[in-house]
Amino acid sequence: MRSNTLLALLALAIALVLWACDRDVCSRHSDCAAGQTCTSAGICSAPAADAAPTEDASDGGAP
């Protein structure tokens, strides 16, 4: 009986924490979508290699 109560409390605690979860924060690269990596700030972002063409494009647009 006591172990059942403990199990119920544990399940309730986990449910409450899951409800309050912040799914936007990452710590593992596998937390992010495919093609993204987790930064030290805890944000999923595309790797630097993908950002390079944008810089090239802006340079190319300059007169």
């Binding site: 172990s3 899951l18 924060v25 937390d31 700030a41 805890g42």
Partner: protein, 182 residues
């Protein structure tokens, strides 16, 4: 003459009753005493809970992956009851990764409580090294099967899956099905 035979027959019956009673007592004593730990044990574990992300002075929680582990253990000491375990681990739901786990488990001979400490190593597709500890209880049937519930903490400290400057601690409720092999 027939009276003596009757007495002899009565004594034989009494002895038989005594032997039977002793046999029942021995059987009961064996059942009532703390069962010796099984030499080999297999366990299937399902864990789910929260992952506490830390780093850059901020903490956040997110749902942990569903962790599936299949382990085997061998008793290394009867008093205290210590078993060494090892097995395979997989993470699923929002990712797919596989790894291995190993450690030692201490079981109380009088209470249905068990404590475990060890390490876990995820090796595909990324690597991740973690320290693991758990506390829980098991309800065992007489047929060598048992249902266990544990609270498990895993602190991942290194690996290519970990973002620089970040830490992850998983707090999971684990349901385990135990099979006594011997």
């Amino acid at each position: 003459m027939s009276e003596a035979a009757g007495v002899r027959r009565g004594m034989r019956l009494a002895v038989m009753r005594c032997v039977r009673s002793l046999a029942v007592l021995v059987l009961l004593a064996h059942t009532a005493a703390a069962d010796p730990p099984p030499l080999y044990e297999a366990e299937l574990r399902l864990g789910y809970g929260v992952a506490v992300d830390g780093g850059a002075g901020m903490m956040a929680t997110r749902p942990s992956p569903l962790t599936i582990a299949a382990t085997g253990s061998v008793a290394v000491s009867a008093d205290p009851q210590v078993a060494a375990y090892a097995g395979l681990v997989a993470e699923t739901l929002d990712r797919s990764s596989v790894g291995a786990t190993a450690g030692a488990r201490l079981t109380s001979p009088k209470l249905p409580i068990r404590l475990a400490a060890g390490g876990t190593w995820l090796f595909a597709p990324y690597t991740l090294w973690g320290l693991q500890g758990s506390a829980g209880a098991c309800a065992r049937s007489g047929t060598g099967l048992g249902l266990c519930a544990d609270l498990q903490l895993t602190a991942y400290v290194a690996g290519t899956d970990l973002a620089p400057g970040r830490t992850v601690t998983q707090i999971q409720g684990v349901i385990g099905m135990v099979f006594d092999a011997l």
